[in-house]
Every structure is written in C-alpha cells, then in structure tokens.
Symmetry: C2
Subunit: 310 residues, 2 copies
C-alpha cells in the first residue's frame, strides 16, 4: 500500500537540458538563462542546466558555457551539467558546474547509437572524468540510460543494470540515475529494480528519470517511491520528446508531478503556482503545445463558476 | 506493495458514449455502429454504447435508438446505455439495452449543472427506473459523478460518497461506479475511498471511472487495483474531454491501460494490436489528435531499427 506520505520527494528540474535537447527551434541563450533563473526561484535544489557535448551532436545546447556563466546562481541550488567525456568535463568545470552527470546506456546498441562507442569504452573514459572531478569539489552523478528497456533490443535485464551500478560504484561516483530513456518501464519492473538497487545505494544517492512516452511516467514514480526512491527528474511542461515516437510525450512533467505530490500530501518544497506560470509561457517561447496536463486543467483548487442560471 | 498480478482486470469501453459526448463534430450513425462492432471483436465484455438523454442536451448522441438497433451484438458482450431518467430508461429498454447506467453527482451543484435537479430529486426519480428494470432482465448500474472532487465545490468527502452508495444499494442496483468526472482524484484518496466502498460491495459490483485531466488517471487505476477494485472504464484513444479544461485529457485511454496491464502481467482479455489499429483510425474519423500515448509510441515490443552506420 502507498505509505510514508509525510516524507519529502526531491525533484530535479531537467527542462533546460533534457527538455531542450531535441527541440527543433533554437532557444536564445538569454531565454535559456531567464528560464533557469526563474526555475532557481521556484524551490528546486537541483537543476540540470546544460550540457557540454559536441555542438554538432546536440546543436540546441551548443551554448553550455554561456548559459552556465550567465545564470544568477541561487544559494542552495546545485547546477548540473551533462558531460559525455573528459573534454566535456573539462569544459563543464571551466564553466563552474556544481555537478557533472555522466551517461552510458545499459544496452550496447543504444550506447553505440548515442555515444558512438561500446559500454566498455564508455566506462573506461569515465575513469578519467572521475579523476578530474576528484581534484576539485565537483560532485559526480552517473546515469544509466535504457535501464528498463531499449528501443533497439527490448527489455533490459535487472542483472545488466546492477552490473553497471556496481561498476559506477567502483569508479566512485556520488550518485546514480536509472533512466527510462524511451518510456518502456512499468511499475512492477520499477519496483523490483529499485528495491534491488537500494540494497547497494542509499536513497539519497539514487535518482529515477522517467519518460511518459506510453503514459506511465507518474505510475512509475509512485512505484519507485513505494520501493524507497526519493529523487526524481522531471521537465517543466513535459518538455522533451522521444526521437522514436513523434507526437508522444517525453520526460515526465514537473508541474504534474508536483501537483500529484501536493494532492497526496508529499512535500517537494516547490512553488506550484510559479511553476504553472513558467510552464504556460513555454508554448510561446518554443512555438508548440506542451504535453503537461495541470498547466491546461489547472489545480483542483482552481474552482470554476457555476453555469449561468443555477 | 503492488500485488496479485495474476488477477484479471475488467475494462469497460466507454468511447461510444462518454468519449463522443462532447465531440463538436457529428459522427455519422453508421460510423458509430462500425466502431462499436469493431470494439465488440476486441475482447471487451462491456461496452457503453450510447445514451438516451435529451437530444437537445447531448446532440452528439441523439441517435441512441439507431445505434442500439444497428449494432451486431457479439455473444458475451453487455451493451450498456446511459439513461438520465424514466423516459430515457423506457427508450433504452425499447432499444434492447442489456444494462442501464444511471448517473447522479455526489455534489449538489454539479448535479444541478448536469441534471438540472437536486440529488434528492435524482434519487427519487431513480426508484421508478429501478422498478421498470426489475420487470425484465435488464441489469442496473448507478454512477456517482464527482466522487473525488467537484469543479464547483472542490474536494468531495468520502462520507458523502458512502451515503450515496448506501442509497443506491437500498434502491437495489446491481453495480455502482465511482466517477472522477473532472480528474480531481489522487491515488491516496482513491485507495482510501475504494477500501471503504469495498466493505459495502463486492469488487465484481464496483467500477472505477477515472479521467486523466491532470495526468493521474493510470496512477489512480493502480491505486484502486491495489485496494481491491477490478473493474475500470476507459475510452479508446483517450477520446472524451473535460468541458472545464480545454486541451486537457478526458477519460483514461483504453489502449494505454491495456498496455500497462500487459506489461505488468495483468490479464484483460483485450486484443491490444486491434485496439491500436482502431485508435489510430480515430483522428481521421473525428478530425483531431487523440491524447492516447501508446497509439503514438507503439508497444515496447515494437522495436526500432538501429541508426544507419552502426
């Protein structure tokens, strides 16, 4: 049964990175900075702010340096940078990212498609990044993409994911993210895997990253929460897509998650009205509708007037 | 914890009634019949087929008689008619509906807005319908709209809903539906209310009707399932809207629910590939996109080819 309602749930905002990554329309650096600055005042303690990947691979995020140096940092907010390799880590550290997020896929074919190398090559390259980060105070998170399923290979076994969790821990990372990159997880699978991973890590070091591609994102959050997870990625407006499912949702929507938590009595510390205001500005900023629901429907407490004549 | 995966979940398809109810574009009677006939072959045991309300109130469903008399009935499928009053019940029985579904809201203001009468007047009118249905073999279901929240009044108390459950049972109905008419329920609330209602009714007599207005429809299904519920309404493609939330989802999407069940190992008996085929035909039929996700994303097992060059 769903329990422990009084506990807190940590939401990491990922719209500026994962959300914008495959946006076809270029978002000006100043608009990115303004969005991140507003998110910084909404109560998030962690914001995935940008990435330091090849500008050819992800042109939408080619301004990582300018974004990181342009934002107004709020005390208590950790600004995270996605880095694919040592060169990216060096750029991120030069831009004073508070945390680096490494990523490798659980499935070989997805890692080759995404990173152009095998999983073994990815892990070997991560050792250099860890050594570099250890020189300063920057923390390191490592993500496992396709942790629940791969669009090329299908179901990914828990054994495979646990093997990578062990490898990440041997490298000495501070946190691990299980990512359902293309929305293939189901609540039963999530509960089983999270239970196993939490035998290796404390809940404070585990993040779950769900996509809503098949409508199960928030179901998977609740299943993970039930299994003990307390940290979740989400994207303002549900910004972010899936390259394999045109028209389908991508990342779970931050304000929908925060609304769910608020309705259930779970603390997030996030200002939902401000979030809704920001989310409702995204269609004008990006030129298309967002999949998030609460921005359209309003909160439960936003009551409607009675029809005329009653 | 989520348990009892081997149990069966009954899905009642409601697209032909609740789904079409507020469609602005008229769907020809022949198209409605063709849709219902195809749904009849997808494995559903219950289809909410039409309504016998005033054609002025719901013009989209003004052809209830023609639909009920035109469909090709499959053995084992119960064809349900929504009826607002005795006159509607007489029309539904004349059209040989297998089951009548009555509806009243838990909140007075929503019942007045929807039915133009008080809850007490609705209940009094239902007694005549029950007496009429008892003359034949037609079964009776009674729905409680706004069971979890009212768009005019806010949160609805469990006590109020239980009071109506008791009144319905005194009337002698065969089944009761708790409807989250405008998508205001949350999983914690659902679990608590379903647990209480199942102390009064067997699971075989209780249906849950969720809307996905705020993205929580499937979370609420799982919470209700956990609390012992086994019957759920859903609408092909997520067809159906919410008059108070333009652009937001309405009913939970049948194929998204069936896909969730399939991934979790819960039996529904429904042919998912056929359902996806039918759902993918809806945008052409109705002139707009549907909120359902799996029809866009495909099933997990619909794998993608590797990118060129790998």
């Amino acid at each position: 049964m769903i329990s422990a309602y009084s506990e807190r749930l940590l939401v990491q905002e990922v719209a500026p990175r994962d959300g914008l990554q495959i946006e076809p329309q270029w978002l000006e650096t100043a608009d990115k900075i303004a969005l991140i600055d507003r998110l910084s005042r909404a109560g998030f303690t962690r914001i995935e702010t940008g990435s330091f990947v090849s500008p050819k691979a992800i042109p939408a995020l080619r301004d990582g340096e300018q974004v990181f140096t342009g934002i107004h940092r709020q005390p208590g907010v950790i600004y995270v940078a996605l880095v694919p390799n040592l060169k990216g880590a060096q750029r991120a550290l030069a831009a004073a990212a508070d945390e680096l997020n490494l990523v490798m896929s659980a499935s070989q074919s997805h890692n080759r498609a995404n990173m152009r190398m095998s999983c073994e090559q990815s892990l070997a390259a991560f050792a250099d990044v860890v050594a570099l980060a250890r020189e300063g105070s920057t923390t390191l998170n490592a993500s496992i993409a396709t942790s629940f399923g791969c669009p090329f290979e299908g179901r990914v076994s828990a054994e495979r994911v646990l093997q990578i969790v062990d490898a990440y821990q041997e490298l000495g990372v501070d946190g691990i993210t299980l990512a359902d990159t293309t929305g293939m997880a189901n609540p039963r699978q999530v509960q089983a895997l999270v239970t196993q991973v939490l035998q290796r890590l404390p809940a404070s070091a585990l993040t779950l990253h769900f996509h809503n591609t098949r409508g199960l994102g928030l179901c998977n959050v609740l299943a993970a929460y039930e299994a003990g997870a307390r940290r979740f990625d989400a994207s303002l407006g549900g910004l972010g897509g899936c390259p394999f499912a045109p028209g389908a949702s991508g990342n779970i929507c931050t304000e929908d998650l925060v609304n769910l938590c608020a309705e259930m009595g779970l603390e997030t510390g996030i200002d939902l009205p401000l979030l809704l205001q920001l989310s409702r500005g995204l269609p004008a900023l990006l030129g298309h509708a967002m999949p998030g629901q609460v921005a359209k429907a309003g909160r439960n407490c936003d009551l409607h007037p009675l029809p005329a004549g009653l």
